[in-house]
Symmetry: C2
Subunit: 255 residues, 2 copies
C-alpha cells in the first residue's frame, strides 16, 4: 500500500515572508507523518510513504524575482540554481525534522531527475524512488526547477511531481494537504466526492477560470485523470488521511 | 561532439584535510573548462560538455566515518544524507565557480536519479542531462550516495557515473583528469595507448591487483568496455584534452 502525500507550500511555510517556515504547522504535519510511517509498512516500522512538498515562500519568491514560471524558462544557470537551492533549503528542513522523528527520509531533487519535452510532457524516472521505498526509506521530493526542451529551466510544481509519481510508482492512495479543507462548492462547503469535472464545474467557475479559483479546477481535472483515488484536505485532517480515512474531498479518478 | 570530463576528487580537493578545496588546482581546472565551453558548441558559445567530479576530502571522509562503501550500504538516512550533503557542498563550489566564469552549470545529484539492483547494475536515466546539454547548460554530476536493492544507500563513485553517462548520452570523448599523468608502465613511464588489458597487465599487476594499483587496473578494464575513446591524463594536460589533443594515455575501447 504505497501512499504519496503532498504537503502544500502554504501549509508548511509563511507565504508572506521570504524563506520563512510555519514552524508550528510544519512540526505538526511531520509528527503525523512520523506516527504513520512507524505504524505502517510490513511490520518493520517503515511505511511505504513518499512525500512531496511545495515551494511556499522558499520557491515562489526566487522564481517571481527572476520571472521564471511553469512556462517561462531561463537559460541563466545562476538564476535556475538560486531557485533550486532555495527549494533544497526547505527540503533539508523537512528531511532533517523527519530524521529527528525517526523517519529515514532521503532528499530527491527534481532538477536532477525530471525534464520536459517541447510540448511540456514530463519525464520523471522513478526507479530510484521505488528502490528507496523498497529499502525502507521515505523519499522526500519537492517542487523544483526542471529543464524543458526549447525553453530552458522552468518551474515544476509539487502537484506535477505528485501526479507523475502517483502514476509511475504506482501509488495506491494520493493525499493533498493544503490550507483549504477540501474542494469547496459555491456556498463554501466541502464537496465530499467528485467523479467528474461536471460535478463541480459551476462552483469552480468552469474550465476557463483556473486562475480565479487558485488553480483548483485545474487541480481537480488533473486528479480525475489519475488511476488512483486522491484526497484533498486541510492540515487538521492529515492524521485521518494517514489512518486510512477519507477526509475532505475524494477525487475518485480511476476508482 | 559531446565530451564527458571527470575531475578527480584528489585533483580539486586537499585529501589530507576534511572538506578542504585545493583552490589553486580547482580554479586552474575550471579556467580550462570555461575556455573550452565558450569556444565549443555550435557557434553559440555553449559547448557540449558534461562534468563529473569525485568526492576527494568531502565525500570520502564522511563515508569512511560511517563505514559506507560501494558495497557496504546504510539504511540510516541521516548517515546517507550526511555523505550526500558533503558531496553537494563540493558540487556547489564547482558549480558556483563555473558561474563566475560564465559557464551555465547546473547541479545534478546522483542520489536523486541513480540506483542499483541487487547485483549492483547501475540505472542512471540521462534524459534530463541530455536536455540540459541541448538547452546549452553544462551539467555537473558527482560521486554520491545511491540506493541499492537489498543493501541500502551505498557509494556511487564518480568513475561509475562517468561510465554510465558516456554510454547513455552517448558521449564522443571521455577524459579522466587525475593526479597521475596517465596509466604508468612498470618503469613509471606513461603508456601512450591501451587497446586491450593484456597490453598493460604486467605493469598494473594483473587482474587481481586492483587495490594495490589504486584501482587503475579496474579503471582500465572499465574504460576498455566503453564504446568511445577515453583519455587518462594529469591536470597540466587538461587544456590539451579539451582542445581535442590526446594527452596521457588513450584507452582505445570501442574505437
Amino acid at each position: 500500500m504505497t501512499t504519496v502525500l503532498k504537503l502544500g507550500g502554504s501549509v508548511i511555510t509563511n507565504k508572506d515572508s521570504p524563506e520563512t517556515l510555519d514552524e508550528t504547522a510544519l512540526d505538526s504535519a511531520l509528527d503525523a507523518v512520523a506516527d504513520a510511517w512507524q505504524e505502517g509498512g510490513d511490520g518493520d516500522g517503515r511505511g511505504d510513504l513518499a512525500i512531496v512538498h511545495g515551494g511556499g515562500s522558499f520557491g515562489h519568491h526566487h522564481a517571481a524575482e527572476r520571472g521564471v514560471t511553469a512556462t517561462e524558462g531561463t537559460r541563466n544557470a545562476r538564476d535556475a540554481v538560486a531557485i533550486h537551492d532555495a527549494m533544497s533549503r526547505l527540503n533539508r528542513e523537512v528531511v532533517g525534522r523527519l530524521h529527528d522523528r525517526g523517519v529515514d527520509a532521503l532528499p530527491v531533487g527534481a532538477l536532477s531527475v525530471a525534464s520536459r519535452d517541447a510540448d511540456g510532457a514530463l519525464d520523471l524516472p522513478t526507479r530510484g524512488v521505488e528502490r528507496m521505498l523498497a529499502e525502507g526509506f521515505c523519499p522526500v521530493l519537492h517542487g523544483d526547477g526542471a529543464v524543458q526542451s526549447g525553453v530552458g529551466v522552468t518551474i515544476l510544481s509539487g502537484d506535477d511531481v505528485v501526479v507523475a509519481l502517483a502514476r509511475s510508482l504506482p501509488a495506491d492512495r494520493v493525499g493533498l494537504c493544503s490550507t483549504v479543507p477540501g474542494v469547496l462548492d459555491g456556498d463554501g462547503a466541502v464537496v465530499d466526492r467528485i467523479d467528474r469535472l461536471s460535478d463541480v464545474e459551476g462552483a469552480l467557475g468552469g474550465s476557463d477560470a483556473t486562475d480565479v479559483t487558485g488553480g483548483m479546477a485545474g487541480k481537480v481535472r488533473t486528479l480525475l485523470a489519475l488511476p488512483v483515488p486522491a484526497h484533498v484536505f486541510g492540515p487538521d485532517e492529515l492524521d485521518a488521511f494517514l489512518d486510512g480515512d477519507s477526509p475532505g474531498t475524494l477525487v475518485a479518478g480511476g476508482e
